[in-house]
Amino acid sequence: MASGEFEGQTGVPNALAHDLNALPAYTQRVDQTSASGGAGIYAAWQSVASGASDLTLLVGGEKMTHKTTGEATDVIASLTHPVEYKHGVTLPSFAGLTARKYLDEYDAPRESLGKVAVKNHRNGTDNPHAQFRKEVDLETVLESPVVADPLRLYDFCPITDGSAGLVFCPESVAQEYTDDYVVVSGVGGATDTHVVHEREDPTTMGGVVESSNVAYEMADRGPEDVDVAELHDMFTILEFLQSEDLGFFEKGEGWKAVEEGVTDRDGDLPINTSGGLKSKGHPLGASGVAQAYEIYQQLLGDAGARQVDATVGLACNVGGFGNCVTTTILEQP
């Protein structure tokens, strides 16, 4: 989370333990920018798997809307390399440059990006906790104001307040609490270059590739086993990049999967049934936790109108422009 930057408050985890009457439980804050929630899952998993904790509560949250769009964007842009920041580069700038290259290199139509926004807004209408529960049509997306060419307003997630939580324990004692639980079968984290233009191929997110390789190996699973996924669609282009770098589709073909409806809720691999960051909103520290919340609900059959048929789910949480990434695989027991 980044509450220190948005509210000028530090020591929030200690205060939370007090507020929850959880003293003297040890607390810690996890900062991985937009990937803080996923990194929190990794830390919570480590705490239980190592035997250091027999019950761990992870909470992610952010209060952002009291800042202007410019102020909030500047807080987020502070994670970029100083030389990039000095030249005014923000994450939307990277997204625009990468989208332009992707469309050119893989001969993808601009409309395909817009269809990510249309799909995720459609999914978000059935999420009672989503910031936007409103469908948008492709024409509206394509005619919205340009933010970072070729990306327009509806290619970006909103600024959001919100929070989400998860409770972890060893599987051996899970049924002492409840019969309704899921298992963290795989989790991996990875870091990519701080300077984005040092990457060999800007349309490949190395942290997504590396973290998912670790998670797949740990779970003894592969991309073909995943039934439902929550991806970090902070910008529409990121859904293409992650769907390819996680191995769901060949490089350069993620856009075709969206065009063909493969990633729709009734498709072969539903992506962002929650509405994604695009529709649900993106309170930085909460987003990775909320991704897992959606997979948890899907695996337990509690997703209501959003429900799909799933026994294995994956969440990919991205910080910076792929600077840090965690991939988590959850399964029914």
Binding site: D19, N21, D54, L55, T56, L57, G162, A164, P170, A174
Partner: protein
């Protein structure tokens, strides 16, 4: 190695909220613990238990150093 389970989860309303981050976190934390059936006050685990101030007087004398002066 024992696998790790997620036994409770929560998500608060996302959007434009009046609450500050500390209240938002408490809302999600309470809801997740409630979903798991593991409230801080009732859990029997060592991680969450009804808190009382620890006292150095509780430590056995055999664990402290003897002073010669």
């Amino acid at each position: 190695m024992d696998r790790v389970a997620i036994i409770g989860a929560s998500m608060t309303q996302f959007g434009d909220r009046d609450a500050w981050v500390r209240a938002l976190l408490a809302e999600a934390g309470d809801a997740a613990l409630d979903d798991a059936g593991a409230t801080a006050a009732t859990s029997t685990t060592s991680t969450f238990r009804t808190w009382r101030a620890a006292s150095s007087r509780d430590r056995p004398a055999s664990r402290t150093r003897s002073l010669t002066t």
